[in-house]
């Protein structure tokens, strides 16, 4: 069912942005760390590399900011942190997602034989 697959891929892509932002709420993280966090949840990140164009875009939209920090190993790492705008965008997403999720669940449940 290629049509369903494409729809799910698009959905996942859109949702991934907010998942990344949500992972940055507790602390700033570097790219590789984010990939590992997302990899723990099955089905969220299909190709690890695609997170980098996403992060770059979030930064250009000023939803996240970056900062280089020295790692314990002595090499610099690019850390991403949530900006105030990012925080607001995430808060608004959380509200809408809750509504949307229960709406879809409700309808899917009703359609079950």
């Amino acid at each position: 069912m290629p049509c369903v697959d494409a729809a799910v891929t698009q959905m996942r892509k859109g949702l991934l942005e907010y998942c990344v932002m949500a992972l940055l709420v507790s602390a700033p993280r570097y790219g590789y760390e984010l990939v590992n966090q997302l990899a723990k949840v099955d089905g969220m990140l299909t190709t690890e590399g695609t997170i980098y164009p996403l992060l770059a875009r979030l930064r250009r939209d000023r939803l996240v900011a970056t900062e280089w920090r020295e790692s314990s190993g002595g090499h610099p790492r690019k850390y991403y942190r949530l900006t105030i705008e990012g925080d607001q965008a995430l808060a608004s997403f959380r509200r809408q997602w809750a509504t949307l999720r229960s709406a879809v669940d409700e309808i899917l449940k009703g359609g079950k034989p």
Binding site: G31, G49, P53, A56
Partner: protein, 190 residues
């Protein structure tokens, strides 16, 4: 303790990525390639013993260079149009580019919708009229002020409305870019 073909595997991957990224702005390409290199570096550091198979796994998990490039292009388009619908500044900028060029140009630069490149092109087209002819006058203001300029012994007024035409081209260009943006937005958000 690198894998025997570490350089070959990694540089091969990066080279394919760079080739796929052709067409994207240079700074985007550089950033993505650097991010990918850093990711590979972190992945390798996490290994206890590195083999060629480990390295192949690392680059496989990153994804096909073509897929990364496609993602980068899509994200680039979303970014350009993201939430930046045109409003009164853009409309006033286009209208004033035709009527009173410098005021229009200022508004165009204040807008966050056009890219820097588009602003530059739009401004340069309008600037041709400004620099060559006298004037901050477009076709409407031109004839009036042109007559005034002539009575004061200035350049021939015929030149001025003609050059105002450049402002119209500049305005059409800016409006065209805006409409392209809207199309890109509706395509991406489908």
């Amino acid at each position: 303790m690198s894998g025997p073909h570490a350089t070959q595997i990694i540089e091969g991957y990066v080279a394919r990525l760079e080739a796929e990224l052709a067409g994207l702005p240079a700074d985007r390409r550089r950033e993505l390639v650097q991010d990918v290199r850093d990711h590979i570096g972190e992945s390798r550091a996490a290994l206890e013993q590195e083999s060629d198979a480990d390295l192949h796994n690392i680059v496989d998990r990153l994804g096909e260079p073509a897929e990364l490039a496609r993602e980068a292009r899509e994200r680039e388009e979303v970014k350009r149009s993201n939430g930046q619908h045109w409003g009164w500044i853009e409309v006033a900028g286009i209208v004033l580019t035709i009527l009173v060029w410098p005021a229009g140009a200022i508004l165009v630069w204040l807008s966050r919708v056009w890219s820097r490149q588009e602003k530059l092109i739009g401004t340069l087209i309008g600037a041709v009229a400004f620099v060559i002819g006298f004037p901050l006058f477009g076709p409407l203001v031109g004839p009036t002020l042109g007559r005034l300029v002539q009575t004061l012994g200035g350049p021939t007024p015929l030149l001025i409305p003609t050059l105002g035409f450049f402002n119209v081209i500049g305005a059409i260009y800016l409006a065209f870019r805006l409409s392209r943006r809207e199309t890109a937005l509706s395509r991406v958000t489908v």
